[in-house]
Structure formats: structure tokens, C-alpha cells
Symmetry: C2
DNA sequence: TTGAAAGCGCTAACAT
DNA sequence: ATGTTAGCGCTTTCAA
């Protein structure tokens, strides 16, 4: 673990000047083929590896993208991360991750780390920081916020339209003949913008169908599916349940199974997020899928435009898809 | 987004020399209190932020830890990451993540990125690369491998003893009076070392109880719980199932529910990994918990020792815990 | 307590 | 096609 070889060592070994080594290694065309080969051979012989801090300092660009995930274990964001990484890699950029840990302080620290490293661009998934803080970040480095609606000046946004997603899910149930559709909401008191949008989409679909009066939003107090129990005693009793996410929908399935209510014949259930849970054969949940691939690509696209000089903030809104599985059927 | 201020700017603004700024910002004691305050004021006024590439180049240490996760969505590893991050932060080190994406090539690229960045230490979770490649990495930077047994020269290891975990789970079932315990294994053909260890632990416990002959290992061919179906037709029919992971155990619960076999009264089920799934109220799965916190701390500990000069490779083996929930009970 | 100066390893503009 | 040279922004002796 002694001092690692530098370009000077490679140059000496190959019998050329330091500058030539740099040019050869970065693949510049004006180096003679034979010289290049000699240099490459010397480099690999010595186990040479570029010193990124030095190169980044001299170049005044790092080729790094910083990605702050609020929660590494959120499958949607980790998929977005994967697609973003792929797109960046194709463009010769390296993506670095940092976990915000659902904590505004840690999130800010992660951003600060990336700013110190002088990343060329920053993507923040579902940030906890306020608009002012985000705007300040956006002024220092091209920044894209994913999974939360904007706008914030000097920051780009890409998010999936939750209103449209919930509307589409509700329309699916309406098309199956359901008229009494209960919405299993997040626990009362929690008010994330996305969750508010989902309720709005549900209501909008009912109203458009002339069923605005049947809207029935039930908060999941203990976050364990207890809303289902309360939904069943409503009158008229719902024939379909739309949950704000897959976990709640699965909890509903569990409760219905214990209560002997067959799904989908006697009750249709729709989730949201299309997590792995929804695809599991024993759940087979109809759910709303957020397009992680398009999200990741859009985020990279926005970043590229910024690096290319765009100055105006942009927002990209994507439409979610409905994945129909076997937890929904016509009202009998 | 113009050129960001440097220490020279801060020095000019505060009316001191550049070197003093550096000393003041890095908190060296030999700077007069009043001078330090003036410098700090100037720095924050200008929005100064250290340029990590420059500092890292000059210092020849980065204060960075690179963490390569094989799969960001594996909850065990993401918890390990969180604890490692905390420990590192306490010691003034910054942790950077990179997703290996279950792909040896990407994993190698992630490692390479970190080596170029000149991280002070590297942690690789569940690497796909072979021992030779790992040894080569370990020779260049202090390296800890998590979640896979060693040894490999010049690399440290920390992993959770899967033999002990499966043994303990089996002993729990034996203590409840079960004698016919089927093991739901990974699909045949897959042979990860950890999975092999789990089977070994199961067998060891049975043998220690004088029941070696009743060992009954059933591969989950379609990875959807089909093993459960085949377990039920064994003779004598098992009264308990031990699954190689929680997902399989949950699949088993689903199958048993459809078959009208009550859990735990007519069948006990044990999972492995203590994922979020296991804790969900409708599953309430007894399972084996791998201590992510101790793993993260141990990894950091090993790294610290290396940075402190230790030269000999070390391996730390941790014992898993059994989390007893409501999917197991006495044989009726 | 403060300042001057020598690099850290690399890139890029320029000269040959 | 190859070599020379001047920084990049910072840390860290060493003198003052």
C-alpha cells in the first residue's frame, strides 16, 4: 500500500514526456499509435490509475453526478437511480449515491458533500428541504428534483402525476361497474403532497362520473390496514377499495381474507406503486406503476440540457400506468 | 453559477494571507481567536466552500469511505450502510455509495471509481468478484467485505453466521416439540455460500437432536412457494417449515391459507432475514434477524484498525438472533 | 502569530 | 507528433 504510480512514473517508464502520457490516456487522437501503445503498456505494467482529485482539479470538471436518495430502500427511487446511472454511464459520467436517511439534516450534509466534491450535476429524490434551500443549491450546480412537484426557481423537476394515477385507477374500477369505492388514505395528519394528489385524483374521477357524493376517504390510523375494517361497515358497503399504496392494499387483502370476503369476486382492491409486493403471486394486485425508467432518463435529460447551457428552469411531468392484475373484477 | 470563491478570495476579503485561511478553516489551534472569527465571517459572507479535489490532492487523504452495495434494495445491506455511515460520520469520515447492481462488471467499475477518487477505505457488500480480484483491491486500499465468508489475503471480512442462524431456528422448532421439519431451500442449481450454510445449520440441529434421518430439504423450483405444496405431501407430513428466506416463508403462508391450514396451530413457519415483510401484521413471521447494526459497526472498526496500521487480515463473525413472532407454536 | 513558498498529480495551451 | 510550461485550489513546512 505504498504511494501509487503517477503519470511521471509512466512517462519515465515509457521514455516520453508527462504531457504525452496524459494525452494518450485520455485518448486524444494526436498521439502516434506506436507511442500510445507503449504508454498504455507502461501504464498497465505499473498499475497506473488516474488520480481523480488531481485530474478534477486541473480540469475543473469532475464528470461526477451526485444522487441524493431520501431512502435507499424505496424501490421506486432505487430503480430511478439505476436508470439514471445507466444513462449517465453512457454519456461517460459517473454517478455517486448518498443516502438522505429521511432526515433533513443528513440530506443537507449529503448535498454539501457533493458540492464540495464539485459534482457536475445533482439529483435529489424527494427532498425534505424547503424551496428556499433547494433554490440556493440550484444556483450553485445544475440540480434536478425527482418525485416532488415544483416549481422552484433555478431547479428542474421531474415527477409522476399522482392525480392522474389515482384518477386512472378509479376509472378502472368505475369501468368495471363499481360505484361505491372507498379510498384507504394515509394516517390522518400526514400530508405529503403526493398523497394529497392521490386523493384528489380519486375524487376527480368520481365527480367526472357524477358520483362525487359517494366519495369515501378513510384514513388508515394505525397504518396496518385498520381502514379496511372501517370501510366494511360503511353504508352502502363499498364493492371496491383503492389504497394509497401497495402496503396498505396488501393489509386490506389480509383483512378481507380473515373476514372471508373473496377478492376480487366480492371485493376489488387496487394498490399504488407497483412494488414487488404487488407482483407476488399470492397478492396479484392491480396497482398504479410509476415509470421509473422514464423518470431516470428524464432527470438525466434535464441535467444534460443544463450542462449544455440551458438557463430556464423546466418541469417534466410523467403519466403513471395502471397494471391490471387479478385483484379487481366486475362488480358482481 | 460563476466561479466559486477560493481561499484566496476569503483571504483578500479578511485581509490576511491564504495560508492563514486554510489553518483557520481546518480549526488549527495556533490561529488567534480574533483572526479566526474574521476569517470565518469572510468565508460565510462569500459563500466559500472548500474545494474537495484540491484539498484531497494536497492532503493526500480524502476522508472518504467507498461503499459498494450489491443491491441497494436489499434491506439488510442498506441498514448496514446506514450504521456504517453513522459510525464514519462520528469519526469525521464521509461515506459514498455506489450500486453494484448485481453485476460483476458494474461492481468492478464502482470499485474502480472509488479507487480513482482515492477513498481512504472501501467496503464491499456481498461482492460478485472472485478472491483474486478482491485480494488485488485489498492490496491497494483498506478493504472490508461484508456478507460473505472469507478469507482472502489482505482483505478483512465481517459476516453473519448462517449456520448458527439456521441451527438456532431449527432448535426453536425442536424445543416446541416439532420433529418433522421441512426446509424450503432456494431453487435447485443456485448455490450461494450463505444458502449452503443455512441448510448445513438446519441439518446440524437435527443431527444434534438425534433426528438426522428426518432431514427434509425441498428446493423451491419456481421460487414462488411451490416447495410448500410438495412439503405437504411428504410422509410423515411436516408440522413445521423452515424457509431459506422471508419471501419464501410468506409464499408458504399464502399457500397454507389457501389450503385452509391454520398457522401456527396446524403448521409452524419460520423465515430468515427479518425483512419488513416478516414484521407485517398479517404475516407476523418468526424469523432469523441478521444484526445489521453490529455488522456496520464491525466493518467500520476493521477499517479504522487498518487505517491505524494493522497489516494482518481479520475476519469477524457475528451471531444472528431469532425473532419469535406468531407463526410458530408448540406442536399440537 | 503570521506570511512565503513549495509542491500534490494532473490538464491544456502553446511551442517546437 | 512530441515536449514545455503554467496553473488548478489547497495544505504544510519553514522563516520571519
Amino acid at each position: 500500500m505504498r504511494r501509487s504510480p503517477t503519470q511521471a512514473d509512466v512517462a519515465a517508464h515509457a521514455g516520453v514526456s508527462r504531457a504525452l502520457v496524459s494525452m494518450a490516456l485520455s485518448g486524444r487522437p494526436e498521439v502516434a499509435q506506436s507511442t500510445r501503445e507503449a504508454i498504455l503498456a507502461a501504464a498497465s505494467e505499473l498499475g497506473y490509475r488516474v488520480n481523480a482529485p488531481a485530474a478534477n482539479l486541473a480540469r475543473r470538471r469532475t464528470g461526477l453526478l451526485g444522487l441524493v436518495l431520501q431512502d435507499v430502500s424505496n424501490p421506486f427511487f432505487s430503480e430511478v437511480a439505476a436508470h439514471l446511472q445507466d444513462a449517465a454511464a453512457d454519456a461517460g459520467l459517473t454517478t455517486l449515491l448518498n443516502d438522505g436517511r429521511r432526515d433533513a439534516g443528513r440530506e443537507a450534509a449529503a448535498v454539501e458533500t457533493f458540492l464540495e466534491l464539485r459534482v457536475d450535476g445533482l439529483v435529489i429524490a424527494s427532498p425534505l428541504q424547503g424551496s428556499a434551500a433547494l433554490a440556493a443549491i440550484g444556483r450553485q450546480v445544475p440540480t434536478v428534483v425527482v418525485g416532488r412537484p415544483g416549481p422552484v426557481p433555478s431547479v428542474d423537476f421531474v415527477h409522476v402525476d399522482s392525480v392522474a394515477g389515482a384518477r386512472r385507477a378509479t376509472e378502472h374500477l368505475l369501468a368495471l361497474g363499481h360505484q361505491d369505492i372507498a379510498y384507504l388514505d394515509v394516517a390522518a395528519g400526514v400530508s405529503e403532497p403526493l398523497m394529497v394528489d392521490r386523493v384528489a385524483g380519486y375524487r376527480a374521477a368520481l365527480e367526472a362520473a357524477g358520483l362525487g357524493g359517494r366519495s369515501n376517504v378513510i384514513p388508515d390510523v394505525a397504518a396496518d390496514g385498520d381502514a379496511t375494517e372501517r370501510a366494511l361497515v360503511c353504508s352502502p358497503r363499498p364493492t371496491a377499495l383503492l389504497a394509497h399504496n401497495d402496503v396498505t392494499a396488501v393489509a386490506a387483502l389480509g383483512f378481507l381474507a380473515r373476514a372471508g370476503i373473496e377478492v376480487p369476486h366480492r371485493m376489488s382492491v387496487v394498490g399504488y406503486d407497483n412494488t414487488r409486493l404487488a407482483a407476488m403471486p399470492q397478492f396479484n394486485l392491480t396497482t398504479v406503476d410509476q415509470p421509473s425508467e422514464r423518470t431516470g432518463h428524464a432527470a438525466f435529460e434535464l441535467l444534460t440540457e443544463r450542462l449544455g447551457g440551458r438557463d430556464q428552469a423546466r418541469t417534466v411531468v410523467l403519466d403513471p400506468d395502471l397494471v391490471v392484475r387479478r385483484s379487481t373484477s366486475s362488480r358482481r
